[in-house]
C-alpha cells in the first residue's frame, strides 16, 4: 500500500510535467496537424537556460532565496524558448504548410537534431547539475513521502493549466485559436490573421515547455542536451492518449501516462516474477501509444477522429 | 429494362445529425446509362462512396449481378466489377498517364513479389500485356499522345479522360462517373458524350452523377433524383423534367 501511494505521488509529479509538454504538441497539432517533433528540444533548452541562470546567480552569491533564483531561471528561459519556437515555425514549418504531410515532419526531425547539437556545443556534452540550493523539505504520509519540490511542481502546473484554459476558452486569442483549428480557411475569411494565431500557438506551447523544463530539471537535479527527445516523445504519447488536438485531453493524458509509468515501474517486478524490472519504465509510454492508436485512435477525450488529409 | 446489373436496396447513411441518405433504392439494368441528379448536398457523392465501398452504409444492401457487395472493402468491389471516377479528379499526380492506367490493371493481373524479383517469363509477358492494354486505353479515350506526361501536367479535360481510362483498365461491368463534365466547355462536353456513348456501346453500363442537364437529358436512359438524401423521382429524362417534386427541389417550394 505504501509503495502504491509513493508511486502515485511520483506518478502525479511526472504526469504534471508530461501534461505541460503534451499541451504544446496538442495545440500545434490541433491547429496545423503537424507533429512538432522538435518540441522536446524546447523543453531541453528551457532546462539548460534556467540551469545556466541559476548557476550564475548562485555563483554570484547574491543572497537571494532559492525559490527566487529558480523563478529567475524560469523568467529567462520562457522568452528564450518562445523565440526558439517562433523562429522554428517561421523558418522551417510555415513554408511547408501546403506541402505533403511527411515534409514538415522530416524538417521537424532535422530541427530537433540541430537544436540538440547546438545545445551540446553551447553547454556541454556532460549533464549540468542543479546547484544544491533548495532545502528540499520532506513530508511524510505513512511510509510515503512528498518533497517540497513535488508540491511546487503540482502547484505551478495547476496554475499554468488553469491560466491556459482561461486563455483558450475566455479570450479573443483563444477564440481565434479554436476557430483556426476548426477551419483555417474560414477563420482567415473572418478576418483572423492565421499566421499570428499559429505563431501564438507555438509561443504558448514553448512557454509551457520552458516551465516544464525547469520543473523536470529541478526534480531530477540534472539537465542534459539529450533530455528533450525521450521526454518529448512520451509527452506526445500522452497527447495521443488524451486525444490529439484536445486540450483537456492532453492534461488528462499526461497525468495518466505519469501514473502508468510510475505504477508500472513500481509493480512490473512483482507482476512478472522479476523477469522484468523498473528498467523497462521507458517502454510503457510506447506500449500505451500503440494500444491507443490501435483500439481508440481518437484518444480518450477526442471526438473528432482527425482524418483530414 | 434489361436484366438488372446493380441493385441498390434501402441504403441509409447518417453523419452525426445529418441524414445523408435515407432508404434509397434503385436498379440499374445491364447496358443502361443511368443518371443520378439532385441539388448540391442531396447525397449523390455519398451514394457513390457507399456503392464503391469507401463509406459503409448504416443500413441497406447492394448487389452486382446478384453478388452481394455490402460491407466489402473498396478493392474487393473494384475486383467485383465496379469502377469509379471522382468529382475532384484523383489521379496519381506524379506518375505518367501511362503508369496511371497500368495501375488500373492491378486487379486483373497477378504477378507477385517473387515473379517481379526473378523477372520470370510469365511476369514479362504480363508486363508487356499490361503496357499494351494501357496504351490502347489511352488511345481509346484520345490522349495517347500524352502517354509519358505526368498526370498532374495534363490539361483538365485530359485528366478527366485519363481517370476514365484508368477506371476502364479495371474491366468494370459498371462504370460510375462523378460529374465527368464538371468544368468542361460545350465542345469538350460534346466529345465526352461521344466517348461515353462509345463506352456503353462496348458493353459497359454507366452510372452518372452530373449537373449538366443537357448532357444528362441527352445521354441517360433513366434518371434518379435525390433530394436531402431521399429518392424523390425516377424515370425517363422527359418524365423527370415535368415532375412536380423535382421542379420543387431544384427551384425551391413555393411559399405556402
Amino acid at each position: 500500500m505504501d509503495t502504491f501511494i509513493q508511486q502515485l505521488i511520483n506518478g502525479l509529479t511526472l504526469g504534471a510535467v508530461y501534461a505541460m509538454v503534451a499541451l504544446g504538441y496538442t495545440m500545434v497539432y490541433g491547429i496545423i496537424q503537424l507533429i512538432n517533433f522538435a518540441h522536446g528540444e524546447v523543453v531541453m533548452i528551457g532546462a539548460m537556460v534556467a540551469f545556466s541562470v541559476i548557476g550564475a546567480l548562485v555563483g554570484a552569491d547574491t543572497g537571494l532565496s532559492a525559490p527566487i533564483i529558480v523563478l529567475a531561471g524560469g523568467v529567462v528561459a520562457v522568452p528564450l524558448c518562445i523565440a526558439v519556437a517562433c523562429t522554428m515555425e517561421r523558418v522551417a514549418y510555415r513554408p511547408l504548410r501546403a506541402a505533403p504531410r511527411l515534409a514538415p515532419l522530416i524538417t521537424a526531425i532535422g530541427i530537433s537534431i540541430i537544436l540538440q547539437h547546438l545545445a551540446m556545443m553551447l553547454w556541454s556534452r556532460n549533464p549540468l547539475a542543479f546547484p544544491q540550493i533548495l532545502d528540499n523539505r520532506v513530508f511524510h504520509f505513512g511510509a510515503a513521502t512528498v518533497t517540497s519540490v513535488q508540491l511546487a511542481i503540482w502547484t505551478v502546473a495547476t496554475l499554468m493549466m488553469a491560466a491556459l484554459s482561461i486563455l483558450v476558452y475566455r479570450t479573443r486569442l483563444g477564440i481565434a485559436m479554436r476557430a483556426t483549428s476548426q477551419n483555417p480557411l474560414v477563420a482567415g475569411l473572418m478576418g483572423i490573421d492565421i499566421n499570428r494565431v499559429i505563431l501564438a500557438t507555438f509561443a504558448l506551447g514553448a512557454a509551457l515547455a520552458a516551465i516544464a523544463g525547469v520543473m523536470v530539471g529541478t526534480y531530477y537535479g540534472i539537465a542534459h542536451y539529450t533530455m528533450g527527445s525521450l521526454l518529448g516523445l512520451k509527452a506526445f504519447c500522452a497527447a495521443v492518449l488524451g486525444g490529439i488536438g484536445n486540450i483537456p485531453g492532453a492534461m488528462l493524458g499526461g497525468l495518466l501516462l505519469g501514473l502508468v509509468e510510475a505504477l508500472g515501474a513500481g509493480y512490473i517486478g512483482d507482476l512478472t516474477n522479476n523477469w522484468f524490472g523498473s528498467n523497462y519504465q521507458d517502454v510503457f509510454a510506447f506500449i500505451v501509444l500503440i494500444l491507443v492508436l490501435v483500439f481508440r485512435p481518437s484518444g480518450l477525450l477526442g471526438e473528432r477522429v482527425a482524418d483530414r488529409t | 429494362m434489361s436484366a438488372p446489373l446493380l441493385e441498390v436496396h434501402a441504403i441509409a447513411k447518417r453523419f452525426g445529425g445529418v441524414q445523408a441518405l435515407a432508404d434509397v433504392s434503385f436498379v440499374v439494368g445491364t447496358g443502361e446509362i443511368y443518371g443520378l441528379i439532385g441539388p448540391n448536398g442531396a447525397g449523390k457523392t455519398t451514394l457513390f462512396n457507399v456503392i464503391s465501398g469507401l463509406t459503409a452504409p448504416d443500413a441497406g444492401s447492394i448487389t452486382l449481378e446478384d453478388q452481394p457487395l455490402t460491407g466489402l472493402k473498396p478493392h474487393r468491389i473494384a475486383q467485383a466489377g465496379i469502377a469509379r471516377t471522382f468529382q475532384n479528379i484523383r489521379l496519381f499526380a506524379n506518375l505518367s498517364a501511362l503508369e496511371n492506367v497500368m495501375i488500373g490493371r492491378h486487379a486483373r493481373t497477378s504477378a507477385g513479389l517473387v515473379n517481379a524479383i526473378l523477372r520470370t517469363n510469365a511476369q514479362r509477358t504480363e508486363e508487356a500485356a499490361i503496357e499494351a492494354r494501357a496504351f490502347a486505353l489511352l488511345e481509346y479515350v484520345g490522349i495517347a499522345a500524352h502517354a509519358d506526361a505526368l498526370a498532374r501536367n495534363l490539361a483538365y479535360g485530359d485528366q478527366r479522360r485519363l481517370e476514365i481510362a484508368r477506371a476502364l483498365a479495371t474491366e468494370p461491368k459498371l462504370l460510375a462517373l462523378d460529374e465527368p463534365a464538371a468544368g468542361m466547355n460545350p465542345t469538350e462536353t460534346q466529345a465526352l458524350r461521344v466517348l461515353l456513348e462509345r463506352i456503353r456501346a462496348g458493353g459497359i453500363t454507366l452510372l452518372l452523377i452530373e449537373h449538366d442537364m443537357r448532357l444528362v437529358m441527352g445521354l441517360c436512359d433513366r434518371v434518379l433524383v435525390l433530394d436531402f438524401g431521399r429518392r424523390i423521382a425516377e424515370g425517363a429524362p422527359r418524365e423527370i423534367q415535368l415532375d412536380a417534386a423535382v421542379i420543387a427541389a431544384y427551384l425551391g417550394t413555393p411559399a405556402a
Binding site: I106, D282, L289, D307 | P74, A93, I103, L113, E127, F135
Partner: protein
C-alpha cells in the same frame, strides 16, 4: 508504341561506362588499402548503409510510409546472427543458414508491427515505428537478467565471421600475389549483395507490385478504388524493407565481430532516413548517392574539421561528430525546403523533361 522500359536497350558507350565503373569498383579496395585498411572498413560500412537505405527506400520512397524505427530491423538481424554464431550460447551455425533466418525474423517483426498500425495515417505511423525502435533497443539493453540473452549494454563479442568451408572472411589471405585482407573479402561480398539488392529494387519498382506501392503513396483512396488492397501492399512494403534491414544487420554482425545496443539508437534510424531523403525518395540511384554522401562526408569532416579549426582559432572548438550531426539536421531541413524531390529527381520527372524537349 512508346515504351517505359525500352531504356534497357542501353547505347554502346553506356556499356563501356558500366565496364569502367565495374573495373574501378574491383580495384578500389586495393587502392584504399594502400592508404589504410581503415578506409576499406569505412567503405564497407558505407555499402552497408546503402543496403539499409535501399531497404528503407522501399518503405518510405516507394510506398510513402514514414518509418522512423527502421534501425530496429537491422538490430534484429544483427542479434539473430550474433546469438546463433558466437560463444554467447556456444551456438555456431553457418552464415548461409542464419542470414535468411535473420531476414525472416526481421520480416516477422515488421509484419507484427505493421499489421495493427498500418491503418493509421502517415504521421502516426512515424511515431509508432519510432516507439517500436525504442522498445527494441530497451529490450536489447535489458534482456541480460534474470536470463542472459543479449548480454545487455556490454553487447556480444567474438561473433563468427562468414565461413565457406575453409574460406574465412575474417582472415587475410594471399591470392595471385595480392593480399586479400578480411575487410577486402567483405568488400567484394558486400558489393555482390549490393548489386543483387539494386536489381531487386529496380525490378520491384517497375513491376505490378511497385506500381501499386507508388499508387498508394500518391493517393490511397484512388488506389483502393482501382482495386488495390492497400493494407496488404503496405504490409508487403514493410515486410520487404524489414527483411533487407535484417540481412544488412546479419552482415554487420559478422563483419564487426561485436555488436551492442549502442549501434541501434534512434539517430541511426534518422541517419538512414536522411540518406533516403537527401538522394531523392523513390529513386534507387539517388538513394545510393545520398547514402554515399552521408557516409563519406563525415569521414572527410573528421579529417578536416579539427585541422581547419586549429588553423583558424588555434584550437578545436567544435568536434567533427557535432558538425556531422548538424549537417544531417541541415540536410533534412534544407532538402525539404528547397529540393523536396531530392538531389536526383525521380526517373519519371526526368523522362518527362526529356520528352518535353523532343516535342516539335
Amino acid at each position: 508504341m512508346m515504351s517505359v522500359r525500352k531504356a534497357w536497350s542501353v547505347p554502346y558507350c553506356a556499356c563501356i561506362g558500366m565496364a569502367l565503373i565495374a573495373l574501378a569498383l574491383a580495384v578500389l579496395p586495393f587502392a584504399l588499402a594502400s592508404v589504410g585498411t581503415t578506409w576499406v572498413r569505412i567503405t564497407n560500412l558505407a555499402i552497408l548503409f546503402i543496403l539499409l537505405s535501399l531497404g528503407l527506400n522501399i518503405v518510405v520512397g516507394f510506398a510513402g510510409l514514414l518509418d522512423l524505427g527502421y534501425i530496429a530491423f537491422y538490430a534484429v538481424g544483427a542479434y539473430v546472427y550474433a546469438l546463433l554464431a558466437s560463444p554467447q550460447f556456444d551456438i555456431h551455425l553457418p552464415f548461409w543458414a542464419i542470414i535468411p533466418l535473420g531476414a525472416l525474423v526481421a520480416c516477422l517483426f515488421g509484419v507484427l508491427l505493421g499489421a495493427p498500425t498500418l491503418k493509421l495515417r502517415g504521421d502516426y505511423l512515424a511515431i509508432v515505428t519510432l516507439g517500436f525502435g525504442e522498445i527494441i533497443r530497451i529490450f536489447l539493453n535489458n534482456l541480460s537478467a534474470p536470463v542472459n540473452i543479449t548480454n545487455g549494454p556490454q553487447g556480444i563479442s567474438r561473433i563468427d565471421p562468414f565461413r565457406i568451408g575453409g574460406f574465412d572472411f575474417g582472415r587475410g589471405e594471399t591470392f595471385f600475389g595480392l593480399n586479400f585482407s578480411g575487410p577486402i573479402k567483405y568488400y567484394y561480398l558486400l558489393l555482390l549483395v549490393l548489386v543483387a539488392v539494386i536489381i531487386v529494387n529496380i525490378r520491384l519498382q517497375h513491376s505490378r507490385i511497385g506500381r501499386a506501392w507508388e499508387a498508394l503513396r500518391e493517393d490511397e483512396v484512388a488506389a483502393r478504388a482501382v482495386g488495390i488492397d492497400t493494407t496488404r501492399m503496405k504490409l508487403l512494403a514493410f515486410a520487404m524493407g524489414a527483411s533487407f534491414g535484417g540481412i544488412a544487420g546479419g552482415i554487420f554482425s559478422a563483419m564487426q565481430g561485436f555488436i551492442s545496443p549502442e549501434s541501434f539508437v534512434l539517430v541511426e534510424s534518422i541517419m538512414v532516413l536522411a540518406m533516403v531523403v537527401l538522394g531523392g525518395m523513390g529513386n534507387v540511384w539517388g538513394v545510393i548517392v545520398g547514402a554515399l554522401l552521408l557516409s563519406f562526408v563525415p569521414e572527410l569532416l573528421r579529417h578536416t574539421v579539427e585541422p581547419f579549426q586549429r588553423w583558424l582559432f588555434g584550437r578545436a572548438i567544435v568536434e567533427p561528430e557535432v558538425v556531422r550531426m548538424l549537417l544531417f539536421g541541415l540536410a533534412l531541413v534544407l532538402m525539404m525546403l528547397l529540393r523536396p524531390a531530392g538531389l536526383l529527381p525521380s526517373a519519371v520527372r526526368r523522362r518527362e523533361l526529356a520528352r518535353r524537349s523532343n516535342l516539335p
